[in-house]
Symmetry: D2
Subunit: 433 residues, 4 copies
């Protein structure tokens, strides 16, 4: 079993009682989804001699948590944790991403990436609390998630058992058929509905779809794929107008302007934006992206609430933040998005960047009005006590303190460098003559 | 008149004949729009003793060019140039911006900015050809356009007369009323339709709206404002599906998938994308942006074809460009957008960056399928002979050459740096205990 | 006099009593050096009807402050301020630059730039305290210093009188001869020693030399130019070894290893490093740099203590800071240096960047041993309680927890992207065949 | 032996004749130094059933190449290649690094890094030519060199055998003692002189020293360590003055100003600069750096010629390159240095960046005069036909076309953004009141 153990415990943890040593190789906290893969892993780990604690995080996905609990118990889990992490997911992980305008490769709002450190953190807290020697997960060997889980673990805790990277496991379970057979043989309830011809990952922020028939980057996604957003074609024929209020770069209130309804806790705000965005088909993208592992993959994402927030935050930020501060912050945000995507949430550099971005958001407050309609978010207007917009200064009708002659000097000094290039540019543009 | 002359001619230009010197202060090439402002400037320049050549660029705006020509002649222009720059505008200015994914402050596609060097270049070619000593424009003293025009001029040519920065001029024409009075007194035809309570700037790429009632950043734009795009609410209830083919990062063909119709010259492609985008209400934004001059301003833009191209190019680029090349190119694109916005198209740095970006686009070719619908662009699929997407490598069903064990080493080496931070992160996450 | 006044007071300041209005145009706080230029400006301002308060900052330059005081009084200054800013210069301006490893265009340690906001801040404090309406300085119209002074002023205070940009002044005083004549006519003591054929600017951090015979970039600087450092050829033939202790990225103690002598206040530390660096000829550079105003200029600098600190700080920083944090901080440091050079110390972006850099320095502590000898600084060794250097991990003689097999996976995953480029690189390297 | 083979051949290579299959596992091209480690590897590979071709690159290190050849033959190498790569090392690898001002973490001139792709490229050319299935090297499992060699290989060729990452090998040869014993048993000549208590790597560009007693970052390097440079204390008491002429950013001639002697081929130029720098003790540094593998290591380097070139190139570049182009190029240079350090020379991103940097160097030409003395390089003056330095423009004695009033407008427009921050900065600086 040496091969399974990818890392020695970092410090002496609670030793199991002597009798136990004979019977168990130790305790594993397994991130358990209730699905076929992790159910097989659970049984297989027991087979290999481990005590297994299962852990299922509620980060907003649609799931029958009770059924998952019972299933884990029936398969022999020593202990079962179902943890509601939704509030901390929004406040501690989504909010900093909103502040950063985190977007990967100009398109992807990082809904999966941002959930991983949140899930892994709790898993490690449980492992410590329960004195477990190992953590385990069912992420595959070609993806980003294995990295995101494990970098968090390496920053925090001991040994990882990653079955999909253990030859004994992945050579035994080559295809889904092998898992099904193993399940039947071991009394694992087998899903009755046929598996969708793609895989998906859902949480409060988004659902992602990939693999299977989506692996062909040319073929269009089937119409019925999306679960979180209505098709824009079927969405209502009139928009909903919302007002989002920000403070320190995060939303503190959302109001439906016509209905007067409002929400003001992080989880409520985000859920309500999901509802509104979902109703209007907001936030669907189909992209090819670059994995950390070096390969390109095709992913389809729907991020209703996150998309609304991205646009609203961008608007209030530009309204209240100095141009040059924003320029620097924009560069930090790009770096933050890469770190997040690559799994470096718990790293010294990501902590540093989060600190800097947070600092940049001190003045980012005010209200943004927007409408959501047929897949799109339209910014309508904004106001802020911290606005740096100066209506008198910019007005074409008011001269104010501004002296237009200053612009002459400004332009001429900016052109001083060009003197040496005039003959060159002359040549470049000499077409007519 | 010393004050008017902001720069000495850089080199001896053709001297007007001696008799002329007595009668004229020299010749000015005036960028003339046919509107009230530049008509007053035309007459005023004559009044001040200049010979005036008017120049009106056709860069795709809706305009009665004949009427403008006649008007200029009737107001005493020595010569009138109407120049159709549409093809060179698309090929030499819009295409490089598409390659760069040029977007200012994450939102603005730079439709006005990109037109300025194109217009100014021609103005200078005319000035040289006609032996004019001056160029002049009607851009205001608080905006970006004065800078964009003049930096191009300083990179290329001699003296600029910018009436809106000359106290004798701007103190005389404080408001629109003064211009109207002057027009009436001087036989300048006065517009009969009342002026819209905002100003706009139109070209093939976009229309921008600002000033007037739009100066209040909180108030919503009126429904009837947009001229280039249909309101998404009134747009067709079913999408149009297009296929855009790229080579070296620029579109070489667009095809309407259902209708089979296609376009393959730059101007035709861009015009057709405008038509499609316009029909479906694509590309409307309402933003507050940071002017080079240091103030924030509110602008509303509609960029139908440009928005479609931005999304399509992004997709084919990520599909065919190496991840790390793209990361560097992304940074260069951000710089390019700033230069473009600030008026530095004709600068050594912008030329350098355009060269680098062009180099990055060598492999960017292939076809993107997308639909436009109700204000939104949806990427549906893509294919390319230069694709770096490797379906076997990424597939969950094929192991191929990829050894999942390698990922273990990759993750662990990436975590080596964390060893020193474990106790810190332990503390950070110790909530449970 | 309208032309002189470049800006209206930003807010009502103390109004001078009525009688005063008749007699004075207001009070100016003049940054006064005691030299010919600012003495003439003093007299000229009085001539123009202002009350003049002179202000001379002691930032470590060699100067007869008493004589300057008497001279100002004798020329009619209403009040004379001699302010010892040396301690705050070191602590509030030099220290943040050390933290940032601030270096302009890879070579210049910014000794002049960093002094300007320090001087201007005090000038404005005095102006406020004394109820003066104006501040004035003698910086020329082609340089960086005018910008550095005035951007600080614009961030803080009211109107600036910059005689060297006022045509009435600069057209009157075209050359030094005019100043001399004016001085003689107005009882201003004229310097008896002939002026050096260059100009210089000195403070605690450095002396800069430029202009005059140095304007020819090809000609070598004369041997006798340097005042702060010994010529390396005449420097001692054996090194001095120092140990500098840092905390939060700034030195808290310097010890002469052999002599046991040590310093532990900021001003003492910096002065002692100047003494040591000066004795050994450390920190001389001859460069061409790019001014903010767009022209290249040639400057010669000697920065003895600053050069030692730059090297020592770099060493302890790399020793105690995570690699990726440092990479981000390095980028911020480059931006900081540009801001500092261009005069943006008091700007929202510079404040933001200083905050971020300061945060990055939390762990930067420890001791660096170095020797100074014949113009060079040699790092000899370092130690730190916060070191991230792990001797066991890196050792070739200890395997430790590190598994060399992990490197295989790391390398192979890093090479996944290359698969598509193999045929290309094959071609590139196929020379032999 | 499966474990040894880290990669399948990318394409069918020449198959050995059938009889061979029985006798050999295939042919390995081993990068052979003639030292104990690679001699043991040679024998061990044969023991394991491979045919071994040795390859020793002459990249300027001091070495008895004939002796190495004979030794390899006597140990059973099937074929021995001694390749003189010095000229291509300078032209194709060092020159681009000079253009880039490549420096890692602000201090290290990358002398080892830049040699690796040069050595590996040739190794692969030989492997192809000889129809070998494998390449092998003796780099350790904790260092950067394994990565640099292998990333080049993965970009170019087939399978790698890295004994120091093969458990069968590294568990057998735990310490030097094991190698010595193996050598004696297998007739490998054992070094008679005791090994220095550190390891070193030498080539034309530099010598690096690390490991052993140098692993303690606090302890000073022994005086006698350096082989390429004289101790500054023992260096001549008067400087040598050199003039280096550049074209397109690379040196094309070096002249000893007093002696009139000059060199004008790349290899001669670089060798002569090494001689001059070595004589005066130029280019010694002692640093802690961050390895790609995630650990910090201590290295001591001497880079005499490279250090001179770094300074001279920086000077001529700033003299002839536009400020803003240089700013962008500086950022690209930082990225290039990281790629080079991490082993990504043959990568799409590094090729892209080299192209861009090369483009930036088009105007970088002219002559730099400098002196070398006691460990330091002093720039004395420069001249260039492509200079962007404008003596008239910058002169304090000539006003020229430059209007100082423009600076007022420039400064005021730059300060427009500050208006909103005045009360804040007022507060920040209000100390006095």
């Amino acid at each position: 079993m040496r091969a399974f153990i990818e890392r020695k415990p970092l410090e002496p943890t609670q030793q199991p009682p002597l009798t136990c040593i004979i019977m168990s190789k130790g305790t594993v906290v397994l991130a358990y989804s209730g699905g076929l893969d992790t159910s097989c892993i659970l049984v297989w780990l027991k087979e290999e001699g481990y005590d297994v604690i299962t852990y299922l995080a509620n980060i907003g996905q649609v799931e029958d948590f009770d059924a998952a609990k019972k299933k884990a118990e029936s398969l022999g889990a020593k202990k079962v944790f179902i943890e509601d992490l939704r509030a901390e997911f929004v406040e501690e992980f989504i909010w900093p991403s909103v502040q950063a305008s985190a977007i990967y490769e100009d398109r992807y709002l990082l809904g999966t990436s941002v959930a991983r450190p949140c899930i892994a953190r709790r898993q490690i807290q449980i492992a410590r609390q329960e004195g477990a020697q190992y953590v385990s997960h069912g992420a595959t060997g070609k993806g980003n998630d294995q990295i995101r889980f494990e970098l968090t673990c390496y920053a925090l805790y001991p040994e990882i058992i990653a079955p999909w990277r253990i030859p004994e496991f992945y050579n035994r379970f080559v295809g889904r058929k092998d898992l099904m057979e193993y399940a039947e043989k071991n009394g694992i309830p087998v899903p009755v509905t046929p598996k969708a011809p793609w895989s998906m990952d859902a949480n409060l922020m988004h659902i992602s779809y990939e693999s299977g028939i989506l692996e062909n980057p040319k073929s269009h996604a089937p119409a019925g794929l999306y679960l979180m957003t209505k098709s824009p074609e079927d969405a209502p024929n009139s928009p909903d107008v919302l007002e989002i209020e920000f403070k320190k770069g995060v939303p503190i209130k959302v109001t439906h302007v016509k209905e007067g309804k409002s929400k003001d806790t992080p989880l409520d705000i985000f859920s309500y934006l999901n509802e509104m965005g979902g109703r209007h088909g907001v936030g669907r993208i189909d992209i090819v992206e670059n994995r950390f592992i070096g390969m390109k993959s095709r992913g389809i994402y729907e991020t209703p609430g996150g998309t609304i927030l991205y646009h609203a935050h961008l608007d209030i930020e530009t309204f209240t933040m100095d141009r040059e501060v924003r320029r620097i912050k924009q560069g930090l945000g790009v770096k933050f998005a890469e770190m997040l995507y690559n799994g470096f949430w718990y790293s010294p550099e990501c902590e540093f960047v989060r600190h800097c971005i947070d600092k940049s958001q001190e003045r980012v407050e005010g209200k943004v009005q927007l409408s959501v309609f047929k897949g799109q978010v339209y910014i309508l207007g904004r106001e802020s006590p911290k606005s740096l917009y100066n209506e008198d200064l910019v007005s074409m009708d008011v001269q104010g303190d501004y002296d237009p002659c200053d612009a002459s000097g400004f332009i001429k000094i900016n052109a001083v460098r060009f003197v040496s290039f005039i003959s060159y540019f002359w040549y470049v543009t000499a077409r007519l003559e």
